[in-house]
């Protein structure tokens, strides 16, 4: 079971949150937002693959 992926995403999330706080305190708010967006894009990229896999398997299973 790919529980690793959850930890990976969680780690990315915590990293993004920490960087967010640091950059906001340092006064660079635009860069803070950009890191948030970057983390989001990476996470979405992983996520879409999984959702795709789920929906294909559901489709083959139910439409048989």
């Amino acid at each position: 079971m790919d529980i690793q992926i959850i930890f990976r995403i969680a780690a990315t999330g915590i990293l993004v949150a920490v960087l967010n706080q640091v950059l906001i305190r340092a006064g660079r708010e635009e860069q803070a937002m950009m890191t948030t967006l970057a983390g989001l894009v990476v996470v979405l990229f992983w996520l879409i693959q999984y959702i795709n896999e789920l929906f294909t398997s559901m489709q083959t299973l139910f439409n048989l």
């Binding site: 079971m1 790919d2 706080q21 996520l47 999984y50 789920l54 559901m58 439409n63």
Partner: protein, 128 residues
């Protein structure tokens, strides 16, 4: 046992989700979606046996085929729309969730039009 793994996965995902919700809600949503997807992907292959039994019941219905398949499709559509809608609701976008469910209901009705027309035909045969 499967149930332990599913529960454990769900709990871990929930904890991480709650941790990140205040700081970075987008990532939290991603974790929530992913946990649900993983659990589903784990359970789905187990359904094959149930489907075999249902196929057998379908073949016992003489004269009408494909109706059990139709019901399975309806169940699938219902479940997927409910899946999406609940996740949206969790993160505050309940109106989007509602629209997803509405779409699901309309699709179910469109899929099941043959059943409704079949019933109307049969009633029409009886009436003089």
């Amino acid at each position: 046992m499967d149930i332990y793994r599913i529960t454990a996965l769900g709990l871990i995902g929930a904890v991480l989700c709650v941790t990140l919700k205040k700081e970075c809600p987008q990532i939290a949503m991603g974790i929530s979606i992913l946990t649900s997807v993983l659990i589903l992907m784990f359970i789905l292959p187990r359904f094959e046996t149930v489907f075999d039994v249902l196929e057998r019941i379908d073949s016992m219905l003489t004269g009408e085929s494909g109706y059990v398949r139709l019901i399975l499709k309806i169940v699938a559509v219902g479940y997927i729309s409910s899946f999406g809608a609940k996740i949206c609701e969790d993160f505050g976008e309940s109106s989007i969730g509602h629209k997803i469910e509405l779409g699901g209901k309309i699709i179910i009705i469109i899929i099941s039009l043959p059943v409704i027309t079949g019933l109307l035909d049969m009633l029409g045969e009886l009436m003089p």
